[in-house]
Symmetry: C2
Subunit: 554 residues, 2 copies
């Protein structure tokens, strides 16, 4: 897909970028760290040039911070009364709005009624260890991080063709054992189950000396240890036929193996929005102005003078702003609805080609952490689940247990996070019906969800991101099998009006749906504005596979 020449040119870019980044860090030093010494301003920095950033999502805020540090005069226009975009954490009193399917009007669907101190991330919820930009900003801004546990062997999976949920440890280890044993069997038949290969297969699959998977040693105990009793007595293995018949892998069971997820990740202590709060705070410290409640209505690229004019409504009045540069963090489906003048035909075709993905979440407050155990005999069937995700073929798709405040009394769970048809179906239902459906899915994993006193309906929250005003979707649904996406993706990487108007966000990054992608894009646009990164994009670019990058192998 990428020519050798193209490869060569790109190989050079990161070096220039790195040098620049060092310079940026250097320039930021005094302001950001309070270090003394002379201000080291790289030659590329131009003081006072005006930048208008449209949208205070992760990319918009990152660009605002970086460009302000470099001396640009930055104003951010944000339509909502809060920063962060899809980076949103629900707490008591937070109001949720969606666009009504029939009227097309924005309605207040419900208000979060969690108890004080409880919260749930409605958008991004985890950070892999290799998302270095997100981690670096957290470290720089002292956003405390704690492990987000994606998988524990106590989590459950309820396969499509099964009427019960199995613990992860049984499904994972028994499948592993059977596959190793089946390979061992073919080797035994050839007298080749010997030496190092035998040793490896035995340790890989917990096979016995003959290559059989007869004891599920890693899958848990048949009963808890008792003094005098033989111990540990392994749980009986599920048969390979049972496992195959169940179709468990179709319920995203292997997603945590993907490099983007992992068993342990990170989350900010206190909610994902700590990141956007810190970004906004630091951007302001660096000189950026962030105007909330400013809804952009029109963008005009001028041929001369100030390069871009933006009209917006704020405080019930119409305003206009002008700037040398305009960086749009507005989600493309929203941008489609905003007046545009002076844009190229290619740009117009590009934004028409991009769809955003449908995705819903449901959040529950539980008044007891019954999934963690039965320490006081209150409730629970002793799952001993501490964080991680249970998977199900039910519409809810997955259940996230809290990775914070283990062993405390109350907790919040993500009671649905689904995609495509399932998200479309769930999103069409009114809030109470969504909660009813999600509760049924949850009961298939934990019967305790049947008790309103444990999991109160009036404290449930739900969001259908594709119906949320100013968002209209979870992420750009890029698809490398769509021919039109190549030209669209390429076009959106290039500024309009020479170097006047830039699109930013995870929507135009190799990591759609990830904050790291948003920050990468903000960095890229910053470099384009500084002239370090060429404004024209190679003829052939890669298109991200949004499904794989947000949901893993399917």
């Amino acid at each position: 897909m990428t020519s050798a020449k193209h490869k060569g040119a790109l190989a050079a870019a990161p070096k220039a970028a790195q040098a620049l980044h060092q310079a940026m860090i250097g320039a930021a030093g005094p302001a950001a760290t309070g270090m003394s010494g002379p201000l080291s301003v790289p030659g590329t920095v131009r003081w006072g040039e005006k930048v208008l950033i449209l949208g205070a999502g992760v990319a918009g805020l990152t660009a605002a911070y970086e460009l302000s540090k470099l001396g640009f005069d930055v104003t951010v226009l944000e339509a909502q009364k809060r920063v962060g975009g899809r980076n949103r954490t629900a707490r008591k009193g937070d109001k949720l709005y969606e666009i009504d399917d029939k009227t097309g009007k924005t309605v207040h669907t419900h208000t979060c009624r969690f108890d004080d101190g409880l919260y749930l991330n409605l958008g991004p919820g985890r950070i892999p260890y290799h998302h270095r930009r997100v981690l670096r900003y957290c470290r720089e801004f002292k956003v405390a991080l704690e492990p987000y546990v994606m998988e524990t062997t106590a989590n459950l999976v309820r396969p499509p063709k099964s009427d019960k949920a199995w613990p992860n440890r049984r499904v994972a280890n028994d499948t592993r054992g059977h596959i190793a044993a089946k390979l061992a069997e073919t080797l035994v038949a050839k007298d080749a189950f010997t030496g190092e290969v035998r040793d490896l297969l035995r340790l890989f699959g917990a096979l016995d000396i003959d290559g059989k998977y007869s004891e599920a040693k890693r899958s848990g105990y048949l009963y808890d240890p008792v003094i005098e009793e033989p111990f540990p007595v392994p749980a009986p293995p599920l048969t390979f036929e049972e496992l195959v018949e169940s179709g468990f892998w179709k319920a995203s069971f292997y997603q945590p193996l993907d490099y983007l997820w992992q068993a342990t990740m990170f989350q900010p202590v206190g909610g994902m929005d700590k990141i956007v709060d810190a970004l906004a705070h630091q951007a302001r410290l660096a000189g950026a102005e962030i105007v909330l409640g400013a809804e952009v209505t029109d963008i005009t690229i001028l041929k001369e003078g100030p390069e871009v004019t933006v009209s917006y409504r704020a405080g019930g009045q119409d305003h206009q702003a002008e700037a040398r540069y305009c960086v749009s963090n507005i989600p493309i489906p929203v941008l489609k609805g905003i007046g545009r003048t002076g844009f190229s035909e290619e740009f117009e075709s590009a934004i028409e080609a991009v769809e955003f993905a449908k995705t819903c979440k449901v959040g529950w407050q539980a008044n007891e952490r019954f999934w963690e155990g039965d320490f006081e005999g209150v409730v629970g069937d002793r799952h001993a689940i501490y964080g991680g995700i249970s998977w199900t073929s039910h519409n809810i798709t997955q259940m996230w247990y809290p990775s914070n405040d283990y062993f405390s009394h109350k907790g919040t769970l993500t009671g649905a996070y689904n995609f495509k048809d399932k998200a479309e179906f769930l999103g069409k239902l009114p809030v109470q019906e969504r909660l009813n459906l999600a509760r049924k899915g949850a009961m298939e994993l934990h019967p305790e969800f049947g008790k309103d006193e444990l999991v109160p309906q009036d404290k449930g929250v739900t969001i259908a991101w594709h119906k949320v005003p100013y968002q209209l979707g979870g992420w750009a649904a890029w698809d490398p099998s769509e021919e039109s996406h190549y030209e669209a993706y390429r076009r959106l990487l290039q500024p309009e009006g020479g170097d006047a108007f830039f699109v930013t966000g995870d929507q135009i990054s190799p990591l759609p749906g990830w904050q790291e992608g948003a920050m990468m894009s903000a960095e890229y646009v910053t470099w384009q504005i500084l002239g370090v990164m060429p404004l024209s994009v190679p003829e052939v670019v890669a298109v991200p596979d949004s499904v794989a990058l947000t949901q893993g192998m399917v």
Copy 2:
């Protein structure tokens, strides 16, 4: 091994035990939780009967707490100046002692010189989610727990036959992929690589549509994402031959799959000794007296009157104590060296049969967390390791990265945790030579260990548990293949002198080397004293496999 009759009898025991435990929790309620209401004392409780507990290890303290709550008059004699036994956390100023191989005398080997606020667990370091007793006491005593990460895919393995270290994600996923592909190949040959089995194998191993493992999609990226570039580009797979040749699985690579370990476990915030501190505090609140620096010299079981007399030295003077019950938490190798009168021949044979395992640890203070990344370009080759263990065939066996205070500047690592011959070899070396050897092993994983300014030698600590006075080993080395161990294990479960003298500890539990085993044993002895659990043990009992239970499959 266990007769049907024996099974039936035991099946009943846990129920009685559960009922008793409920009663115990009931009795503890008012004191422990501050709840009001009348004290509910079960009929079995006898006020004021004297119990002497020898040794303030986890089992001794647990028994002291539980028996005190039940109304017994409990005194704990502890030879050392601290409680906890092998549950020990090293901090600045802590002195380490070992018995000199030649002279047999206890010598002060070194003093921990960690910076203020740093600490390292020298004994137990992690708690699985199914060790319910440990977790329950932590919850009851408000010992804050945080995730202990045992495995991340960024951890390294340096196999026996390789001169470099590979990331876990490559070794784990490439092995998985190749094994699945090899099985797929045999199925393809039989036209059986179809339908659900094909789907499962593909997801299991990340195989392509033809069942080949051609792209290591889960093993990490070839390079970090760059805008415009094809992404993600998978790391090239290691070949199956390379993997087999390396012998990586011999370096305990698969230990985290074992049910006893897991990728995520728990640790107390601030050090494992928070558990024994809390147990000691609560035992004292419940009325127990804990005498530190009291070294037992003789134990005599009397036929009449007070049942046991214990002689001990404390404050330079000889003392004697008498009690109705005596519970010995003294490690068996230490007990062997204490005068004993009135013990049965069978008991004497039993303690002769038990050996304790050799095991060493090394701890490092690092002045930069170079393994976590290169945020500021200081050091590090961007491993992005946050917790978990790297494995090596070097003497050090394993390297534990801190699971606490991620993203801070300094940190402590477990730079060796080894067994058997390797522990014997390391333990024979003087402290500085141990640190030199451990540093070499660490450098094979991270060259940064070569820099004294990053990992200062004078802040290293080391312990050879088999040489530590009052401990003399890591755990009882029970071995089900040793005929003599059956009678020994059985005998030590029964009290001596009727119901006068009891042995407790993980040393006589199904979980040697684990705090849960110590607590199980304390519970068992408590039930025996209360008469809930029969004093005579079934004729045939199971013997724990200490190697498997402390090191997993080997």
